[in-house]
């Protein structure tokens, strides 16, 4: 608890800015959803035959898993705000449209007939009768949508939209519970806060006669009430507009010289992303926008191709096998040249490797190794039927992953239970699994005292870290290539693992670790930062 509070305090500025980003995204999305949903509800209430198809569609959207929808949208909307807002809007439509419909449908038909009968136009009926009577129910729908949206925006950190989910994901990747809490607790508080504020608003728009049947109304009270209501609604509208504005404005005034740095969602990538961002900002007059912690390799690569980011660090094996879908090979030169050539065709320049090889390795607990006398992967062959294997989801799916491994070593595990990123370490420590895929540079290999099994048959691809940058970015900023190449060969396996260890185990932030490293190496000569 104390460490959480201390960590939280240490990250307060980051938490605060992520919280603001979270609020912005939530309000922007829900605002758009209201602008679409309420008129849609009014529309299908009026033209009943559209009711089924519209409600059916938004229902269907609700059934799509959110991560799937995000992944699907990246090629069209890129990473970050646009795709997130689109998704949240899509998920928010159901409660808003449905409640609008219900609210309008609940109005006594006699009341509407009377309204028509006394000679109100359809517009006047809408404004004076239907909307005031349906508003409490509509607001309840908006409230549900908004609270859901707070939760959903958390997931959107996966595609670099920022928000408190960033901390949750980073925390999961690095097995840092305090960091998870630093994101989750404010997210919960935000959800409760949004619920409370919208609850107040809901009460406010409920006609006083329906809320409190015994209310004693007078002319003065009625006047005052109307004024107060107007003021609060105006205030709420202004707040929403302001938040939406702060979300949109930065996008409009993108400064002239900007490079957008991406990274995947694990410690090493976060360190590398920050490293390059600091390096560039110090050495060149370019602002580095950090789109770090993107959900997966796939998202980074798509983002690079879609020009949502200009730069990220990839690994040769990943680029070769997963991204370019080449036949497995153990020839490093072949891999390097193939990757460079094929990436060039996509307008992407592959820079010389950083030095370390972050290959997949298999790791077991020390006691398991002792019990069975395990040193190499071949040693697993006899006993694999007794062990549970937890590869990462990515490793489980790639061609050079589990299936290649199984056939090279003729392994047959009792069970394969894929697990994402940093969650594997606590899992293996608690005996939930016995064999884990890890990266050779993982700092946690040391802290969890895991034994790495040697790849004695050379079945695993090599994964040398390679910076990838868009050709057009290099053309635009000629000074950039020199800056990026300063890092070439500077990080060997041991250095990288120690940097990772500082984040994963010593709970220092990736930003700090990156900056300290650059300072130590004398790579921040201009001290602009």
């Amino acid at each position: 608890m104390m460490t959480f509070l201390a960590d939280f305090w240490g990250m307060r500025e980051q938490v605060w800015s992520l919280l603001l980003a979270h609020i912005r995204l939530t309000f922007l999305s829900v605002g758009i959803a209201v602008l679409i949903g309420v008129p849609s509800g009014l529309f299908i209430n009026h033209f009943r035959k559209f009711s089924k198809p519209v409600l059916g569609t938004v229902n269907l959207v609700q059934a799509i898993p959110s991560l799937a929808m995000l992944g699907f949208l990246i090629p069209y909307l890129g990473i970050g705000t646009a795709a997130t807002v689109f998704c949240v809007v899509a998920y928010s439509l159901l409660p808003i449209i449905k409640n609008t419909c219900i609210g309008l449908g609940n109005i006594d038909p006699d009341t509407l007939e009377a309204a028509r009968g006394v000679g109100l136009t359809e517009g006047q009926i809408l404004r004076n009768v239907q909307v005031p009577l349906a508003l409490p129910v509509i607001m309840a729908g908006i409230r549900i949508a908004a609270v859901n949206a707070v939760g959903f925006v958390t997931i959107a950190a996966f595609i670099g939209a920022g928000g408190l989910g960033y901390l949750v994901y980073s925390g999961i990747q690095t097995s840092n519970v305090d960091m998870i809490l630093s994101g989750a607790v404010p997210a919960c508080a935000l959800a409760l806060g949004v619920d409370f504020i919208l609850g107040v608003l809901e009460r406010l728009v409920t006609p006083v006669s329906l809320r409190n049947p015994s209310v004693e109304m007078t002319k003065e009270k009625l006047c005052r009430r109307k004024k107060r209501r107007k003021a609060i609604l105006l205030g709420a509208a202004a707040a929403v507009l302001f938040l939406a504005g702060t979300a949109v404005l930065p996008a409009l005034k993108r400064s002239k010289k900007v490079i957008r740095i991406g990274s995947k969602n694990f410690t090493e990538q976060l360190i590398l992303g920050n490293l390059y961002a600091d390096l560039i900002e110090d050495s060149a007059d370019i602002t580095a926008v950090r789109n770090l912690n993107l959900g997966s390799t796939d998202i980074c690569y798509k983002a690079l191709r879609n020009r949502d980011i200009d730069f990220y660090v990839e690994y040769t094996g990943t680029a070769y096998g997963s991204l370019l879908r080449q036949k497995p090979s153990n020839d490093r030169n072949h891999i390097d040249s193939t990757v460079a050539a094929l990436m060039k065709k996509q307008g992407i320049r592959v820079l010389p490797p950083l030095g370390f090889n972050n290959a997949f390795v298999l790791a077991v607990r020390g006691d398991t190794a002792d019990q069975y006398g395990l040193n190499t992967i071949s040693d697993l062959k006899k006993i694999s039927g007794r062990l549970v294997f937890s590869p990462t989801i990515e490793f489980n799916n790639r061609r050079d992953g589990v299936s290649a491994l199984n056939s090279a070593y003729r392994l047959n595990f009792k069970k394969i239970a894929p697990i994402e990123g940093g969650l594997g370490y606590p899992a293996i420590a608690n005996g939930k699994c016995d064999v884990l895929t890890a990266y050779s540079t993982d700092g946690m290999l040391d802290s969890y005292r895991l034994k790495v099994l040697r790849d004695d048959r050379n079945a695993m691809l090599s994964y040398y870290a390679i910076p990838m940058v868009r050709e057009e970015t290099l053309r635009e900023y000629p000074e950039l290539e020199g800056v990026l190449k300063k890092m070439t060969g500077l990080l060997d396996d041991k250095t990288m693992r120690s940097l990772n260890y500082q984040v994963d185990e010593e709970h220092r932030t990736p930003e700090k670790v990156a900056r300290d490293f650059l300072k130590r190496k004398g790579l921040l000569p201009n001290k602009r930062l």
Partner: protein, 384 residues
């Protein structure tokens, strides 16, 4: 004037209103009555275009309403419905003034008008202006509904079973007020009900609708006395006329073609007539059956000369009635003047009937003995 010309309304299930021709005169209160589902409400709602006819046309003051703007049309027509149709989120004032507000009438004028309307329906503005509908009793709500309908000062007011959800006492009070308002403000009111009592009580004319057609359109009295067919007789109900004594007239209950004697007839002949008719008196008429006087049985028996002409003992001091007089009126005559023998004469002073104590008793007994008795008002009811 509202005129329906061959108006038809067809839904998918069939015709709801068939070829309705109807004329409602200005200042008249016309009740559309009939069993539920007969098309009376549909007929009503076609007047303010809440429902558009499938065929035929409706004219108001000679103009086809289909050519008028529906909203403008409705603003000129007050509308009251059963469940009041008040807006639950608006105060009494806001409910009544809404149409005035939509027409851009300023606040002071609106407040004045709303207060005036509330007073018209016997509600104290100071107490009720800022109440909400849910804070009012059913009767008060409907008063507000009526006030709203009258607020725009429309020529025509439509009322769709406005009082049927109210308790009998409140209902009858509101009926009386509506009847009063209608006469005072000279509105044309079209009123839908399925209750014959209400129809008879309020209507200048009743239009009975059955199966989408007009079964009979006439004054309440005629419909009660001369239902056009068995259905209407049944709908009106047996003995209903007895609930409305003002519709029972001397002509309906009198003894027709009563005996009379000439002034020259002898007392002996007259006595014979009296014995045969078992009557307490006999009318004396001239050759044109004009009444000259009456001769009471007691006077005949007191005289000794049987050949004396009745002229000598007849009296001209007697009460007369006309066939148009109502039952209450004739009862008052009989009771006040203590006359048990009232000759009835038509416009030309000719003797057409008689009202006697016995015959009144006989007529009144029908209300209480009811069943099995013949209806009052039938020509063959009480005869000579």
């Amino acid at each position: 004037m509202i005129r329906f010309e061959h108006v038809t309304k067809t839904y998918r299930q069939g015709d709801v209103v068939r070829d309705v021709n109807l004329e409602i005169r200005d200042g008249e209160l016309v009740v559309l009555a009939g069993p539920s589902g007969c098309g009376k409400t549909t007929t009503l709602k076609m007047i303010n275009q809440l429902i558009r006819p499938s065929g035929g046309r409706i004219l108001i003051d000679g103009r086809d309403i289909a050519e008028l703007d529906a909203v403008r049309l409705r603003r000129g027509i007050g509308y009251v419905i059963q469940k009041t149709g008040l807006f639950p989120h608006m105060t009494v004032k806001e409910n009544i003034e809404i149409v005035l507000r939509m027409q851009g009438i300023g606040e002071p004028e609106r407040e004045r008008k709303v207060s005036e309307m509330l007073r018209v329906v016997h509600m104290d503005p100071d107490r009720y202006l800022y109440r909400y509908p849910a804070q009012l009793s059913g009767g008060q709500q409907q008063r507000v509904g009526v006030a709203r309908a009258f607020a725009g000062d429309p020529k025509i007011i439509l009322m769709d079973e406005p009082f049927s959800a109210l308790d009998p006492i409140t209902r009858s009070r509101l009926q009386a007020e509506v009847a009063f308002l209608q006469k005072k403000l000279k509105k044309t009111i079209v009123f839908v009900t399925h209750e014959m009592d209400e129809a008879v009580r309020l209507a200048d004319r009743i239009c009975i609708i059955y199966n989408g057609r007009i079964a009979q359109y006439d004054t309440p009295e005629t419909i009660l006395k001369h239902p056009a067919d068995g259905f209407i007789a049944n709908f009106v109900g047996k003995g209903r006329i007895w609930d409305t004594p003002r519709f029972i007239r001397v002509g309906d209950i009198m003894i027709r073609c009563p005996v009379s004697c000439a002034p020259e007839a002898s007392l002996a002949d007259c006595g014979k007539l009296l014995r045969e008719s078992r009557s307490s008196a006999v009318a004396v008429t001239d050759s044109d059956r004009r009444i000259l006087g009456i001769v009471r049985a007691s006077d005949v028996w007191n005289r000794e000369d049987p050949d004396e002409p009745v002229r000598k003992i007849m009296t001209e001091d007697f009460s007369k009635a006309s066939p148009d007089q109502t039952l209450p009126e004739i009862l008052r005559v009989v009771l006040d003047r203590r006359s048990d023998f009232v000759p009835v004469e038509d416009g030309r002073n000719k003797l057409v009937g008689l009202i006697t104590e016995e015959n009144l008793l006989c007529a009144l007994s029908r209300k209480f003995l009811g069943k099995g008795e013949k209806e009052a008002g039938r020509d063959d009811d009480v005869s000579c």
